[in-house]
């Protein structure tokens, strides 16, 4: 049983994250509790209280009591809490201590000092439960995001904790990996484990959660059952800043998107990594110029490789793009393309937001830079260090520098991974704004809500080839929705239509 009594917490000064106010919560054994709410509402902080990272790792002032099975977490060292609580985090890149999967599964047990035979037995059992035989003995660096997240779940599972805490585990996953994750949670639940999940994506948990806690500004605002939650209208959910619960119920909402007449045609985009069969193979393709093009497909279908080739980052890709009679090879494309990366931290270099924009201009023009900042709602931050901004603001700085460099093609790699409704909407507004400027946008995304909200065209990848290429009109809308719904159904998931 987990009990939080009158818990208040605030991080030490200088920390961007918000604290918690007056939390009272009892979670019984075997319950699945979903924490939802806008970014910064305190979901993650609450998970940190339960796994003991607060106050043992993240410092701040804490009052009140957090009890796990009758023991106060505040006074327990982390290695004791670790035996009761297993934690899975958001970023699959930073939660592995080892470089190979087998050692990673053993790691928690090794730390408890269990005998080797016992560890081996537990690994075998977990591998069987998780059906990850093929992932054993592999290098962590060669796994996909979904595979990494599976290994992360398996490696906490070997320690046999009673409580699992998952902090936004799905943010970097595609639809079918999310389905795998859902199955894991079902398995834990059937074993009577207590599970606490903080998430933005709600649809895959709607049948699983026993209780749904809606948080706002560091408080638990409301509590729902799964049934109550499902009865809510889409507009009420959006009003609360929450993502939708049903994929199939989404529909396109486009307004004022402009599209040029011309076409962008690609030819000869074939690229393979060292000693492997082609990662992408596109011989001829044409897409509308000035459109917002969604690039969809499962993990490993070649979307990212396509993006890198399109931007001209892969030198050995010989593909040629032609627009309006002009053709561009890889080297030229690098001058006309800009990619807003999934981790925008990689592309902000200077000391202030204004410098960042000026760096992108051929001739530094402060007036134009300020105009651009103003149009993206960034003018008030112009003297701040880009790294001190929030994730969404950083992304807008990256967009602003793309605008400043006058590049006509902008590519977004997973612009909404781990974003709540409000921020997703903001991204979608930014995309529309860029569209008004006449840019052609490519959006690699697993986010159906974003795609329906802003994209005009779909490129569907599978095994390195474009298997479908269609505009999002009425029939296109059905097609793209069915791709996402099917991806979660074909893995044995609950069909969406049963839940109406």
């Amino acid at each position: 049983m987990i009990e939080l009594k009158n818990v208040c917490f605030s991080y030490i000064q200088g920390c961007k994250e918000n604290g918690l106010h007056n939390i009272n919560l009892t979670i019984r054994d075997g319950e699945v509790v979903l924490l939802c709410g806008e970014s910064g509402c305190g979901k993650t902080t609450l998970t940190r209280l339960i796994n003991g990272l607060i106050p043992n790792y993240y410092e701040g002032s804490l009052t009140g009591e957090v009890m796990l099975n009758g023991r106060a977490v505040n006074n327990l060292p982390l290695y004791e809490t670790a035996k009761m609580v297993g934690s899975v985090f958001q970023n699959p890149r930073s939660q592995f201590f080892n470089v190979d999967t087998t050692s990673e599964l053993a790691f928690g047990c090794e730390n408890m000092g269990l005998p080797i035979e016992e560890i081996q037995r537990r690994i075998d059992e977990t591998v069987c439960d998780f059906k990850i035989e093929t992932l054993m003995g592999r290098s962590i660096f060669k796994l996909s995001g979904g595979e990494k997240q599976k290994i992360a779940c398996a490696s906490v599972s070997t320690c046999h904790p009673d409580i699992f805490v998952l902090d936004e585990p799905s943010s970097n996953l595609d639809t079918s990996s999310i389905e795998d994750l859902r199955e894991l949670i079902v398995m834990w639940k059937s074993k009577g484990k207590t599970i606490i999940i903080a998430e933005h994506r709600l649809y895959f948990l709607r049948e699983l959660a026993d209780r749904i806690l809606y948080m706002k500004e560091g408080r638990i605002k409301e509590e729902f059952t799964s049934r109550e939650m499902k009865a809510m209208s889409l507009s009420r959910l959006s009003g609360m800043g929450l993502r939708s619960l049903f994929l199939y119920s989404l529909s396109k909402c486009k307004s004022g998107l402009s599209q040029k007449q011309g076409y962008v045609s690609l030819s000869g985009f074939v690229f393979s990594y060292k000693n492997q069969h082609p990662a992408i193979e596109i011989h001829n393709l044409s897409i509308p110029e000035g459109g917002i093009i969604a690039v969809i497909g499962h993990n490993g279908a070649g979307k990212s490789t396509f993006a890198r080739c399109l931007c001209g980052l892969e030198k050995s890709c010989k593909g040629v793009m032609s627009v309006g009679g002009k053709s561009f090879n890889g080297r030229n494309r690098l001058k006309h393309f800009y990619m807003v990366m999934q981790d925008v931290n990689h592309q902000l270099f200077t000391e202030s937001v204004l410098d960042e924009i000026l760096l992108s201009m051929d001739k530094e023009d402060s007036q134009r830079a300020e105009d651009i900042l103003n149009s993206l709602d960034l003018l008030s931050f112009k003297d701040m260090h880009p790294m001190s901004l929030s994730g969404g603001q950083k992304q807008r700085v990256a967009i602003a520098s793309a605008v400043a460099s006058q590049k006509e093609f902008i590519l977004f790699d997973e612009p909404t991974s781990g974003l709540d409704f409000k921020h997703m909407q903001q991204v979608s507004d930014n995309l529309k704004q860029l569209n008004q400027m006449g840019k052609t946008l490519f959006i690699i995304s697993h986010d159906l809500e974003l795609i329906l909200r802003s994209c005009t065209h779909v490129l569907h990848f599978e095994k390195g080839r474009v298997i479908d290429n269609y505009p999002i009109d009425d029939s296109g809308e059905k097609k793209v929705v069915s791709f996402f719904v099917k991806a979660s159904e074909e893995r044995g998931g609950t069909p969406d239509c049963l839940c109406v």
Partner: protein, 241 residues
Amino acid sequence: MQTELLQSTGASHKHLRLDPRTKLFIALITNTAAFSGNVWYLMVALAAIPLSLLFASNKIKSGVYCTLAYIIAVLLNELVMPATHGIPNLFIAMVATTLYRMMPGLIMGYYLVTTTTVSEFVASMERMHLSQKIIIPMSVMFRFFPTIGEEARAIGDAMRMRGIGLGSGRLFKKPMAMLEYRMVPLLMSTVKIGDELSAASLTRGLGGPVKRTNVCEIGFGVQDIAILIIGILIFIAFTIN
């Protein structure tokens, strides 16, 4: 793409497997002996250990290249060098001696790095009773190098796209700014990953007072003993000479 310092996954069981401690010991011997001996047949015998190890672990291609290179080095050293004078002699001496002296150690180092997995290495450090204060940072380091590589590559890509990459000509105009553009995001992201990584390892119970177990099986076998004896014999021969 190869940025891993040691291997993350092991080779198949078909090939010769040595304990990492044997490899370390042989590496130590070859490095010290190679700089002290002058008798060519002893040097060849010394170089033969890492070379045969390469072949035994199925690294045929690199084995053949290294063997050829070493034979050339020995021939240059023994036959060509005494026969030349002046500047050519100086030049040949420089190349030949470097190869002659350095190669055994380098090949052994290459063998060590390409056939040892991180977990084997960590396990052997534990068997050598090194303190956890050394082992944990070492294993984090092995884990971290590839990550830094990945991050640096992403930053490099971003710079090329902004037209401030290495080939943009700005390197000469503003070298310090270029260094800053590269380092600041790299430090920011490695600090963040480091922070998340330590939080994750702590929630997995790292740092408890109990003695850690290690599931990685290492240990001395017949092959280790054989190699060690050969190594020691050659080393003794070197010292007597």
